[in-house]
């Protein structure tokens, strides 16, 4: 029935740019900016990518303390390997990185007229997004933006997915600028070095993605040469471990993202740990077994007021000072009446009694001494992931709050990781990684190892890269992700189901080509 219309009922382009279907972006550069903002938001959060990488491993646990951190079980189920296709962080991670992948595809579409740098940035972010989805879910949905939005995306797995990611990275390497080490702000965006780092990461994990289970020699050679190319632009190991996690330039930082680091800081700290930022959130802690990877007194982790370790620990384990660290002449800090606000918190792994700036032993909110304990016990004294008090668990601090809790500078890719990737590639292609691992250990003030086994290499990665969101990835590549650890559900031990996260249930309805991962 045709009706004569007095109005065409067409909507007007009054406050947004309208097109029927995707016809190209209005301004590719601006959308690339937004892609970096997304990366910042997705990476800086304690949930989603960070939690899926850390809390699902032996490196992090978020026990329920009274009513705190119950949160619909989202934390305990991650650590216990009891997540389901409804897990909100699983769904969010899927959505976040798939979304970035699609936006990057839109930038890369010729109708968006991307510049060479736009193409490099978008290719890099698309590769990282697809890599993340492949790593977590084992399948990557890919949408061709030239097709109508109602079309159903194709699903890529294994070598096909890896090829697509590697192809993007080659485009990224070709189009991105060369940014040398220590360039400060320029390291806040992707560069040839960042793309090479990611390519090395993808090649190293390819045996997991394609299910072959053994490293391909050519891939390992490629990893080694990619790391060498990165080093060729001046990137190198650098002494002074905790100085690396500041917003000042250094030679190790290949790429950082502009997330506020306060999120990493306050997650673990107790409410009374510091007055900065309103105190901590008293959640994240690490397992004693992870803490025990480091040398040093297992029951004490103190440092002197000049940060000299007092318990035989290596530099990376940090330590707790008995009072605020005096202002003296520490570069880049500001004076707070002789002490740096929150300089009483310490670095690295916080165990035992905690102190206020003036040296007073801190108490928890119920008035008990604030001593961070190795174990997780409930009110009846039994090991438990729920009903903990406020003091259980050793806390982890990588970004020292006295350097600015709200500094927007979080490490994304770091040369020490590249260095260890090269060592691993050598090991996986029949070489000996001992010298390389000891090179790092020497810089970190740790005792050199005799010979480095596969286990040693995994442990070294754990020690060097704690809280940098690589632990799950490493454990899977080294075949240890399904082993038993504290509070892992019995049925999940040695259960391969949990090596991949489940596809969100609503996606199985929306795209029939998606097949739920086995076991869910």
């Amino acid at each position: 029935m045709a009706l004569s219309s007095c109005t065409d009922l067409e909507i007007e382009e009054s406050d947004s740019i309208i097109s029927e279907g995707f016809q190209g972006l209005a301004d590719a550069s601006s959308t690339v900016d937004q892609l970096y903002i997304r990366l910042r938001d997705h990476y800086g959060n304690q949930s989603n990518r960070f939690a899926l990488s850390e809390v699902t491993s032996d490196a992090a646990i978020v026990p329920t303390r009274g009513t705190d951190w119950g949160d619909n079980g989202e934390w305990s189920s991650l650590h216990q390997h009891l997540w389901t296709p409804e897990h909100v962080q699983v769904i969010n991670t899927w959505n976040e990185f798939n979304g970035s992948q699609l936006i990057a595809s839109q930038v890369l579409d010729s109708r968006s007229n991307p510049s060479a740098t736009n193409t490099g940035d978008a290719s890099f972010i698309r590769a990282f997004s697809m890599y993340t989805i492949l790593d977590y879910f084992g399948q990557v949905p890919f949408r061709d933006v030239t097709l109508p939005s109602s079309s159903v995306p194709e699903i890529l797995t294994g070598d096909a997915a890896v090829s697509l990611i590697l192809a993007d990275l080659d485009v990224a390497i070709a189009n991105l600028p060369s940014v040398s080490a220590g360039s400060g702000d320029a390291n806040g965006r992707a560069s040839k070095a960042a793309a090479r780092f990611l390519k090395a990461k993808v090649l190293l994990n390819k045996q997991v993605f394609n299910g072959s289970g053994s490293a391909d020699g050519a891939d390992m050679t490629a990893v080694i040469s990619l790391v060498d190319e990165i080093a060729g632009e001046g990137y190198d190991l650098q002494a002074g471990y905790f100085e690396l996690f500041r917003d000042s330039p250094d030679n190790e930082t290949i790429m950082w993202v502009s997330s506020e680091v306060g999120n990493r800081i306050f997650n673990g700290l107790h409410y009374n740990s510091t007055s900065e930022g309103g105190g901590g959130w008293n959640g994240f802690a690490t397992l004693a077994e992870y803490y025990d990877l480091y040398e040093g007194d297992p029951n004490s982790n103190r440092v002197a007021l000049d940060e000299t370790p007092l318990d035989g620990q290596e530099e990376r384990r940090g330590g707790v000072p008995s009072a605020g660290l005096p202002f003296t002449s520490r570069p880049g800090t500001t004076d707070e009446g002789g002490f740096e606000l929150s300089s009483n918190v310490g670095n690295g792994f916080l165990a035992g009694q905690q102190y206020a700036l003036d040296g007073t032993p801190l108490q928890d909110r119920a008035g008990a001494p604030l001593t961070f304990k190795r174990d997780f016990l409930d009110g009846t004294g039994s090991p438990s992931i729920i009903n903990n008090d406020e003091t259980t668990g050793i806390r982890v601090i990588k970004y020292a709050p006295r350097f600015g809790a709200f500094a927007r500078h979080e490490i994304f890719f770091r040369y020490a990781d590249a260095h260890l990737m090269k060592a691993e590639a050598m090991m996986r292609s029949g070489g000996d990684p001992t010298a390389m691992v000891n090179e790092l250990r020497t810089i970190r003030g740790a005792t050199p190892l005799g010979t480095v086994s596969e286990q040693d290499l995994l442990d070294e990665r754990g020690r060097e890269l704690f809280a940098e969101a690589w632990r799950r990835n490493d454990l899977i590549r080294f075949g240890q992700y399904t082993r038993d650890w504290l509070f892992k559900a019995p049925a999940s031990i040695n259960n391969d189901t949990y090596k991949l996260f489940p596809i969100p249930a609503s996606q199985l309805l929306a795209n029939p080509a998606l097949i739920q991962n086995p076991g869910y």
């Binding site: 029935m1 009706l3 007095c6 109005t7 009922l9 067409e10 909507i11 007007e12 406050d15 947004s16 740019i17 309208i18 097109s19 029927e20 016809q23 972006l25 301004d27 550069s29 601006s30 900016d33 937004q34 892609l35 970096y36 903002i37 329920t64 303390r65 009274g66 009513t67 705190d68 949160d71 619909n72 079980g73 989202e74 009891l82 409804e86 909100v88 769904i91 969010n92 959505n95 798939n98 979304g99 936006i103 839109q106 949905p141 949408r143 939005s149 109602s150 502009s258 309103g278 108490q363 909110r365 119920a366 009110g379 009903n387 709200f406 049925a491 969100p504 996606q507 309805l509 929306a510």
Partner: protein, 1040 residues
């Protein structure tokens, strides 16, 4: 051709009749108790011969010798009087409330109760609820079967939830379409939401602009046969509000009413006092001395209050024969029972009707102008783990002193501090103009053009000063939000109406065209880093800075902002081409350190063609057929137009010979039809759209720019959601309708459900509007009974009762959507409801609580068979939902001479409330952390530091009966000689008592705690809801 023949035949017949009768001239006068009645209809019985009374109530008519005159006037009993050869007749009509009842406003016309084919209920002024009424829908709360009007909050001016026959839609806006004097409103909020610093405040009720005392009647169209004339917006029912006119006034009447109301919170929590608190802290293993700040404060009393409110209305109305006029002025100031909540409303309204050209042309004009000033405390449904000012007052340590400057150095909200150093004000100006011209071409054919213009401008300024404590990013800095929202709704309608009486039947045909245009535009801005601590000055500074910055920008723009990291004002532009980060220098005074602003402007259009045919045969068989075609700019070319047909049949059995005389009414009604819904969909969801992503000020006073992002993905197939509804009803009346009953049975099925669901990844927005393959079924029964027990000169007593049963079920849906966010400490990501096939909307989904074990730890029923009852792994549908199965109301009205008493009880049954307040605040984890709790927790046996996750432990039956309203009135006997023509004194109590097992303050509650992004709204969740007030109102109404 046939019609013409029939007409000629009738004409000849009439002439013949006249020829035989002996004509005579009769003059007369019609009056009512107050004087002459202009405009009354005088008709010779059995003929079309008639006239109307003039300005002085006089008439002249040529009639037959033995004629009987039928004299009628809306609102008065129709009187028949035999001429008996007299040449002059004087008649006094008596007011008849029943008669007034009979006229029912329906879409684009009126009908009578007797002739209605659809399910339509009308409530008129005399039956309205009394007391403090801040919004029109409260006038009819509980008065009508199947219309569930929820008090979403006791806050003055709070939003509304009106559900007609259950919930058809799965979107936040399940409200019906509101039509005010023929202008369909847009249904969107007219005031922007502010940010209390803890989350957004609740939006205001869009009907606040109407003065309830201006309303004459409210019609509720319930079934598709009645609502189909509103097409794509009729699925949730239609509420037609008609304002008072001067028609019944006669020679100028002033009416004045004033009332004073006193309100107190009807209920409060049984919190621990100082000493109880300290001993409870010890009992749960804490160090009482560490949390004792020395004072004894009842924080609940600090935040709530008893208040006095006033409402004053003055009206003048006059009927001068060729027209009538009514003008009113109203002023209401209502204070909420929470500190810093109030609503001030100033309204003016005028209704004018004038007839021209031998009464063939009728012009009508009505206009409302209103100003509503709202103030609200830091109240927010989504305040997160600490709760808003109410939650904070419940959990505040009672040993804290009641001092605005006190701080414990912790992380809790300090109620006295936050109250003193925050301010949230909204001003809304709105005018609604409506003009129509109706011309009678022939006695049968009438045409009408109707224009409407609805304009609102609203500003919200909410600020928190740097004096506030324990709020990161605001403490020592100051924060403010300044939002502006303008809406403009234009309506143009043309209708043609053909009415024809035949010998044994009558026909009423309506065709029409309607065009409506809804524009909304505005600006959302925020500022951080204030130099002043004065709340008023902060608001002024923010406004001046935003407006100052805006005035320096030339050309079009979407965003402008600056922070301490900017070297100039940064502007993001979309048109004529995209410019990101255009830096234009600071040509204005920066009174705040960081500021961001984002503008929006969009327009939706609706074009409709409609028609309706009413045909009645032998005054026994009534037929209605309706069709509307709606074109909407919210949908793409594939589905721009929707067609909404309906049909209805009614059979007046009481007109049949085989029904006895004692049955005064017996009518059977059947109807069916298709209606649509597009509310909540919003602008441009079927095309791809790009805008700059949102920007905000950082806590370090910098601002990061944003890039262009896709805000909508094209969904070319997007269409309205459709509801097929069927209705069968019986109306019964005995003993000249002294007893009446009405029963309706209905079923409606909503398909193509418009819902934000996850599209196939990769997608930019994880939720996007689409038509989901699901069916939502509502079926139920409605019953209304009324009986006049006593009808004597001095004493009358009547009762009216209504009851409705509704059953809701989601069917044919493949997925499961979690909703009903639960807030509180350790409850991030927690939820209580799930949308899934086989269950009602708002069904509760959670672990089943199995009691506390010997050590005081909660245990749960094992559902998945792994031998362990786990609160997270063992969730099920627990068989409860938040939609009441039964709703009912009972009114009792007694009049003894000049005294009258009316009472009204309301009840809802068969639903559950999730007590989020108890779950989020009153736990052992709270007392362990030195947050206050209720008395019952202390003796509950719960161990210290237990986790408190969502389970049936906090799910409670919500069934209640409320003594909603009681009015005692006295009509002062007046001679009519003095200044006053009438005077009435009254006292009204509202919410006098509540019978319920629910342990919270009030089970009739819905706090929009969040939907986890799905867009499926929450219902039945009590998260520190605004306390319902108990109100006593003293009123005087006088006319002179």
């Amino acid at each position: 051709m046939k019609i013409t023949l029939l007409k000629s035949f009738l004409l000849v017949g009439a002439l013949l009749c006249l020829g035989f009768a002996q004509a005579q001239e009769i003059t007369g006068n019609v009056s009512d108790a107050t004087g002459p009645l202009p405009g009354a209809s005088v008709v010779e019985k059995g003929t079309t011969n008639g006239t109307q009374t003039d300005f002085d109530g006089n008439f002249t008519l040529s009639v037959g010798e033995n004629a009987t005159l039928v004299i009628s006037y809306i609102g008065y009993s129709t009187t028949e009087i035999a001429v008996n050869g007299r040449s002059s007749i004087s008649v006094t009509l008596t007011e008849d409330a029943e008669a007034l009842d009979e006229v029912v406003i329906i879409g684009y016309g009126t009908t009578t109760v007797k002739d209605a084919t659809g399910s339509v209920t009308s409530v008129t002024a005399k039956d309205f609820n009394g007391g403090v009424i801040s919004s029109p829908e409260q006038l009819i709360q509980g008065k009508t079967a199947g219309v569930n009007i929820q008090q979403s909050s006791g806050e003055p001016g709070a939003g509304i939830s009106v559900n007609i026959r259950g919930s058809n839609s799965v979107r936040a806006n399940n409200n019906p379409l509101f039509v005010v004097d023929g202008v369909p409103l847009s249904g969107d909020n007219t005031s922007p939401s502010g940010d209390s610093g803890l989350g957004a405040t609740a939006v205001r009720n869009p009907l606040n602009f109407l003065n309830p005392s201006d309303i004459m009647s409210i019609s509720i169209l319930k079934d598709a046969s009645a609502t189909a004339i509103y097409g794509s917006r009729g699925a949730n029912g239609v509420v037609i509000i008609t304002t008072k006119s001067g028609k019944a006034a006669g020679t100028g009447v002033f009416e004045f009413s004033t009332s004073l109301s006193v309100a107190t919170p009807a209920n409060e929590y049984d919190l621990l006092n100082r000493s109880e608190f300290l001993s409870a802290v010890t009992q749960f293993g804490g160090d009482a001395s560490a949390v004792d700040f020395g004072a004894a404060t009842n924080w609940q009393d600090v935040v709530t209050r008893s208040t006095a409110s006033t409402n004053n209305n003055l009206s003048y109305s006059q009927n001068y024969g060729k027209g009538h006029i009514r003008a009113t002025f109203g002023y209401q100031k209502q204070f909420g029972v929470v500190e810093k909540t109030d609503l001030e409303r100033i309204t003016g309204r005028i209704n004018v009707t004038q007839r021209f050209l031998d009464d063939k042309l009728t012009l009508r004009f009505s206009g409302t102008i209103s100003r509503v000033n709202d103030e609200t405390a830091p109240l927010s449904a989504t305040a997160g783990f600490r709760g808003d000012i109410l939650g904070a007052s419940y959990s505040a340590n009672p040993t804290w002193p009641n001092s605005a400057t006190f701080t414990d150095g912790g992380t809790q909200i300090l109620p006295a501090n936050l109250l003193a150093f925050s301010q949230n004000r909204t001003n809304t100006d709105r005018f609604l103009l409506n003009g129509s011209a109706e011309y009678q071409f022939t006695p049968e054919l009438t045409g009408k053009i109707n224009g409407g213009y609805d304009n609102s401008e609203s500003e919200n300024v909410s600020v928190i000063s740097s004096n506030v404590q324990n709020l990161n990013g605001i403490e020592d800095i100051g924060f403010g939000v300044y939002n502006r929202l303008e809406r403009e709704n234009k309506l143009l309608e043309a209708t043609l109406n053909y009415k024809k009486e035949f010998e044994n039947s009558s026909l009423d045909v309506l065709v029409g065209y309607s065009f409506q245009d809804f524009q909304s535009r505005g600006r959302n801005a925020q500022g951080r880093g204030f130099q002043t601590k004065s709340l008023n000055q902060m608001g002024d500074d923010l406004r001046a800075t935003v407006k100052g910055a805006e005035s320096t920008i030339s050309g079009s723009f979407q965003q402008f902002f600056y922070g301490t990291n900017s070297n100039g004002l940064i502007v993001n532009r979309l048109f004529p081409s995209v410019v990101a980060g255009d830096e234009i220098g600071f040509g204005f005074e920066k009174a705040v350190s960081a500021m961001t602003a984002d503008v929006f402007d969009n327009t939706d259009e609706l074009q409709s063609f409609f028609g309706r045919v009413n045909y009645s045969l032998a005054d026994k068989y009534l037929f209605t057929a309706t069709m509307r075609a709606d074109g909407s700019s919210r949908f793409g070319p594939e589905n721009q137009y929707g067609y909404f047909p309906s049909g209805a049949f009614a059979w007046k059995l009481n007109e049949e010979d085989f029904i006895g005389d004692n049955v005064s009414t017996l009518k059977l009604r059947l109807s069916g039809g298709l209606v649509g819904s597009q509310d909540g969909l919003g602008y441009g969801n079927f095309v791809a759209r790009q805008r700059f992503a949102g920007v905000g000020t950082n806590t370090d006073l910098t601002v990061n720019g944003s890039g262009l992002t896709i805000v909508a993905t094209d969904v070319p197939s997007l269409k309205w959601e459709e509801t097929l509804s069927l209705n069968a009803g019986i109306d019964l009346g005995f003993n000249i309708d002294r007893f009446t009953a009405s029963i309706d049975v209905y079923k409606s099925e909503t398909t193509d459900v418009l819902l934000r669901t996850p599209p196939a990844s990769p997608a930019i927005d994880p939720f996007q509007f689409g038509n989901v393959d699901a069916t939502i079924v509502n079926q139920g029964i409605e019953l209304a009974l009324a009986y006049d027990f006593i009808q004597s000169q001095d004493v009358t007593f009547s009762a009216a009762f209504n009851m409705a049963y509704n059953e809701n079920e989601v069917q044919d849906f493949g997925g499961a959507i979690n909703t009903g966010a639960i807030n509180g400490q350790g409850l991030s990501g927690a939820f209580a409801q799930r949308f899934e096939a086989g269950h009602s909307l708002y069904s509760y989904y959670m672990a089943e609580f199995a009691g506390l074990d010997a050590s005081g730890q909660p245990t749960f029923v094992d559902q998945n068979g792994d031998g362990v009852g786990d609160v997270f792994q063992d969730k099920i549908f627990v068989g409860e939902d938040a939609l009441p199965d039964y709703t009912g109301g009972l009114s009792l009205n007694l009049r003894v001479k000049n005294f009258d008493v009316s009472t009204y009880f309301a009840g809802q049954f068969g639903f559950s409330v999730y007590n989020n307040t108890r779950n989020g605040l009153f736990t052992s984890g709270s007392i362990t952390n030195a947050r206050n709790v209720t008395q019952d927790l202390v003796t509950s046996g719960e161990a210290a530091g237990t986790s408190a996750d969502v389970s049936t432990r906090y799910l409670e039956k919500g069934d209640f009966v409320r003594f909603q309203n009681a009015t005692l009135g006295y009509n002062v006997p007046l001679t009519g000689e003095g200044l006053f023509k009438s005077m009435r004194l009254s006292v009204t109590g509202q919410n006098l008592f509540l019978i319920t097992d629910y342990s919270g303050l009030d089970p009739e509650v819905t706090v929009a705690t969040g939907d986890l992004g799905s867009g499926v709204p929450t219902r039945g969740i009590d998260w520190a809801a605004f306390p319902a007030p108990r109100t006593i109102t003293f009123g005087i109404n006088a006319s002179f």
